[in-house]
């Protein structure tokens, strides 16, 4: 009988002018121009950088952007911290590799769809029992699944190659869609003459570079639209307080499970694409190290913002795979020191900036860094989560 009255909207209030840094700032939708600048810079980067090793590492980092963003939509947004994200990545990668090995007639595009489906199904199967788990119990459960998948690769060693993995996976050049995207953008950016001068391995690097960039932009863009929209607001409410969200009428199971499946599907796609970029799959794609690295990336960049983990992935992966090796031989001789280095770096970052480095940086670049405009004011003015 009683229903909420739609009253005339009072004037937009101020933010209270507290002057203190507010966690609400991560709610602010980053300036779209800044968001567009990043892919445009990446698109034209090969025109100015002819270091193919660096471009190759950027392509790998771009895939890690997808790993981290897909982790973030589940763990950063709903608070269900997944310590076994590699399970979804590995499922996607191995699906593509097994299809390439046993069903070579299956197109690369169909293989990627299969990777998405397999990872999403795994996400559903894990997500249902995990609905009732929280904190360390959820962490252990998700960690265990990734561990179980590693064991499965040994049980089916004939098919999966065990420790050796699977080599000879059809690459992005073998896929009509991916190759068209890669070649098209290569020609657009580098020019036809330049491109015709490339061959073999270099061409593969450029195609990989542009294909991963396109997939990343679509995936991260889609996740950001979701995360900064009204569904994202509901996901955040679940992270804040599940009971209160239920009291507000939020169908908890639907949202939590939906986030699990979406996260898994995106990770599966990224994993499958990684297999097509590398041409091989191995146990590193299911390993605990990978899951931990993704968490480090997300926390470093700023979990719960999508863009934070995305930028964090570029910083961490390029440091790890490219710059640290050039800084000292120590990391070349002891690569295991890298993750320890990043864990230390993360601790320092979290002490200085508990919400990661990217969201506060973007607020400043967007001119919203001074605490005069908190997220609430932006929402009242019409930003943030819109209907």
């Amino acid at each position: 009988m009683t229903s909420t009255k739609v009253a005339e909207q009072p004037a937009a209030p101020s933010d209270g002018g507290s002057g203190r840094p507010s966690p609400l700032k991560r709610l602010l939708r980053p300036n779209p121009l800044i968001l567009l600048a990043l892919p445009i810079v990446l698109l034209y980067l090969p025109r100015f950088v002819d270091n193919t090793t660096l471009l190759q590492q950027i392509a790998v980092a771009t895939i890690f952007v997808m790993f981290a963003a897909s982790w973030d939509i589940l763990s950063g947004y709903t608070g269900q911290v997944n310590f076994g994200h590699a399970a979804f990545i590995g499922t996607g990668a191995y699906t593509v590799a097994l299809l390439s090995k046993y069903q070579p007639d299956v197109s690369n595009e169909l293989a990627l769809l299969a990777a998405v489906g397999a990872a999403a199904l795994l996400g559903l199967l894990i997500g249902i029992p995990c609905l009732r788990l929280k904190g360390p119990y959820l962490a252990l459960a998700t960690l265990s699944v990734a561990g179980a998948l590693v064991q499965l690769t040994f049980i089916f060693k004939t098919q999966t190659g065990g420790e050796d993995g699977i080599a000879g996976v059809k690459t992005v050049i073998d896929g009509s869609l991916t190759n068209t995207i890669g070649e098209g953008l290569s020609k657009l950016v580098l020019g036809p003459l330049t491109f015709s001068g490339l061959g073999g391995f270099d061409q593969y690097i450029y195609v990989s570079y542009f294909v991963t960039l396109v997939f990343m932009v679509v995936m991260v863009g889609g996740l950001m639209l979701l995360g900064y929209g009204k569904r994202g607001l509901v996901l955040r409410s679940i992270q804040q307080d599940e009971l209160a969200a239920e009291a507000a009428g939020v169908p908890l199971t639907r949202y939590k499970l939906g986030a699990f499946v979406l996260s898994a599907a995106c990770a599966g796609l990224a994993g499958g694409l990684y297999a097509q970029v590398r041409g091989t799959v191995a146990l590193d794609l299911l390993a605990v190290d990978l899951s931990l690295l993704i968490i480090i990336i997300a926390a470093f960049g700023g979990a719960g913002s999508i863009i934070g983990p995305a930028i964090g992935a570029y910083v961490v992966v390029l440091l790890q795979n490219y710059y640290l090796d050039r800084a000292t031989d120590l990391f070349v001789e002891h690569p295991e020191l890298k993750i320890g280095t990043f864990a230390l770096l993360l601790i320092i970052v979290l002490i200085v900036q508990p919400r990661g480095i990217v969201p506060p940086l973007l607020q400043r670049l967007s001119g919203r860094g001074s605490a005069t405009r908190a997220a609430g004011a932006t929402m009242v003015e019409g930003g943030g989560a819109k209907p």
Partner: protein
């Protein structure tokens, strides 16, 4: 007036402890009912059973004759039962406005959600804090925010769990005015409250509980004079019920 809510022999046991024992009562549409009892009397457990946050061991809870027991919590909310919590549960990292937008989104509300959320905040007198982080609100404003979030679900029945707990006299006065306005708008209310004096100014009926059972049910003054209530709830000092 038609019956809105029925609690039918609701019992809730935790092992050997019977927290709610065969509680039966009904609430008519548009009524405002106070639920009182000493600490441990079973009020909050009953409250949880009525709102789907706990399942009774036996008995039934019906809204307009339809059982709520097999419904998921969000469906209980969708059917028209909303609640607040004794210890407020804001979404602390979200602005006040976003706190109220969440139930609107969850309820599939069409139209401009911001305008509607501002309307709800206006209704509880919190529109001027819409942009503030909810973590910066006073206790009194947090109680009003909880009320706004509950109202945004468009409830037929609103259950308030100790709305005056932790508030100053001035804040109680402001919140009382808000609750009176809700009553005037026709919202059916069940209010659990220890501050009897403030409660009695808001309700026309009181249900008293002791050791999980209803010991008195009727007009406030009659219930407060009931010997069982005096003994169980007021410790035999019938004249001190306005002490809060």
């Amino acid at each position: 007036m038609s019956v809105l809510l029925e609690a039918d022999a609701v019992t809730r046991r935790f092992g050997g402890l019977t927290a709610v024992n065969e509680v039966t009562f009904s609430v008519e549409e548009g009524a405002a009912v106070g639920l009182i009892g000493a600490n441990g009397a079973g009020k909050t457990t009953l409250f949880n059973c009525l709102t789907g946050f706990d399942k009774p061991t036996s008995g039934d809870v019906r809204l307009r004759g339809k059982s709520l027991l097999k419904m998921a919590r969000h469906k209980v909310v969708k059917s028209g039962v909303a609640r607040t919590f004794q210890i407020v549960k804001p979404f602390p990292d979200l602005p006040v406005l976003a706190n109220v937008m969440v139930p609107l989104i969850a309820g599939g509300t069409k139209g401009d959600l911001r305008v509607q959320a501002m309307g709800v905040l206006d209704r509880v007198g919190l529109a001027h804090r819409a942009a503030s982080p909810s973590s910066q609100l006073s206790e009194g404003d947090l109680k009003r925010l909880e009320m706004a979030r509950a109202l945004a679900t468009k409830p037929q029945l609103l259950l308030l769990d100790e709305p005056f707990a932790g508030l100053s006299v001035a804040e109680i006065g402001v919140l009382s005015d808000t609750i009176r306005q809700l009553r005037a708008d026709g919202t059916t209310l069940i209010v659990v409250e220890h501050k009897i004096g403030s409660l009695l100014q808001l309700v026309e009926r009181v249900v008293a509980m002791d050791q999980g059972a209803v010991i008195a049910d009727g007009e406030p003054q009659a219930v407060m004079r009931d010997p069982a209530v005096v003994t169980a709830y007021l410790g035999g000092e019938a004249t001190t019920h306005e002490q809060h």
